[in-house]
Symmetry: C2
Subunit: 310 residues, 2 copies
Amino acid sequence: MYDVIIVGAGATGLTAAIYACRKKLKTAIISIDVGGQTNLTSHIENYPGTGPMHGIELMQRFQNEAIGFGAELIMGKANKVDKTDNGFRVGLANGESYECKALILAYGKVPRSLGIENEEKFLGRGVSTCVTCDLPLFKNRDVAVIGGGNSAVEGALESATIAKKVYLIHRRDSFRADEITVEKLKQNKNIGLVLNSISTKVVGDKNVEGIEVENIVTKEKKTLKVDGVFIEIGYVVDTSFVQHLVKVNEKKEIIVDEKCNTSHAGIFAAGDITPVPYKQTVIAAGEGSKAALECYRWLTGGKGAVLDWS
Amino acid sequence: MYDVIIVGAGATGLTAAIYACRKKLKTAIISIDVGGQTNLTSHIENYPGTGPMHGIELMQRFQNEAIGFGAELIMGKANKVDKTDNGFRVGLANGESYECKALILAYGKVPRSLGIENEEKFLGRGVSTCVTCDLPLFKNRDVAVIGGGNSAVEGALESATIAKKVYLIHRRDSFRADEITVEKLKQNKNIGLVLNSISTKVVGDKNVEGIEVENIVTKEKKTLKVDGVFIEIGYVVDTSFVQHLVKVNEKKEIIVDEKCNTSHAGIFAAGDITPVPYKQTVIAAGEGSKAALECYRWLTGGKGAVLDWS
């Protein structure tokens, strides 16, 4: 039983964890990745106080601080939230579940999913939505990259520098990426192009063992043997699994007040999953801090000492 | 003519400056100090990404970044804002004034003032509201500390380690500070206690030359020759000089929407000067970022590219 479970480990969730832990709350973070959108910025200069660095490095610092203060990090895809007598139960796609007294939703915009079998189950555990973040896990192993835009094509090229064999799976026979990038792709002998093909299933039992693909012209199905699958097909808001508890707006963002309270007592939301303007790491971090302090105030029945002027 | 003048150089104002400069706005910061409330935290552990350090060091990093990106820092007390044909004119207590197209008010809670002659004129220029921040400027010089609480008494003790002669001026004959601290005070031969006395005037022409005090029992007046005056008598909201332009709430905080717009077009406010909850450096920084991006959006007629999801 955690005092608080934070869903999401981007700038918002990690900052919320830092603040929750410093208030001595027993804190878990459930996430499919660590770092979120900030990871995608290779040279972040406008986060005050640190000097320029890769977004991944900045987020690793946040992570180290959150874990250093006592947060537990649980990798996986939260896809179910139920009210219990004492709080909430958060279910993961792999069947695990965790209980908490209060919940902070801070998982931002989420990578668009394919909606295929075993995809959610292995998210954060072999299925990844960020080549730049997770590629080091697949050194000298075989991976598939799925998508046809710049991030997928560049992801395949990047993968080929570290992985042994790379498959780039795309449902059309041409790429939307820049011509010069596509040229590089075609010349790279480590990259196998799997065109006119859709992915139909992640294959595996405990670990990812392959990806099943279907050629949409010939209808032929085959399974590519890979250890990792990178899905690079864009971002969406996904609040479907919490909409029975909290109010959302017309964009499906979770509605919050100025202290990150949602419409449901004990559930807080912060960062890109809410209508907060201007998607910046420092803004996300600030919102995470608000959510954790408000959560603490709520857990202590308003008695917890929170530094404020009022 | 600046694109934007930011009043205040705490975490909020400095972050706003970083963001404004990165949008190529000609940016000035007007402030009585650099660092604001964060300076008062000797060991800040919960600002994500930097590791623990003194608040002053963190704020110096913010300052270096803001200035590195092109912000101009003008030391002094803004005490007048007028609407002009093209924007706003900000007046300082020393008579200077500066013009801008847009204004960001980010000066937080401000140190309580004595309300005596020349106090405002020399604020940030010999009169200081933070011993910890500005003491190094007065090495081997004479200073007065005004106040009777812990921060004044501790400020006097701290001053005595660096300054030559220290006067502690207090309107009563006993201190509210802890007994053990008061004992140290009485044993320190560098500190002269000026009790039952009120300060009546900062003396000086271009620089601070002394402080005039009046003994409230004997009515005797005298001038203590000092190079610096530290006023340590607490904090208040002071929006009196902008209330003819922007709406404030019952606490005199400036009312803003979620993007830091005030009730007046072209005037933005962020951080502790607004009702934003939970006074934390990372929250203040996030709000400063919002204000600068919204200011940029406004200055460009909504055409400026601002990273957002919508």
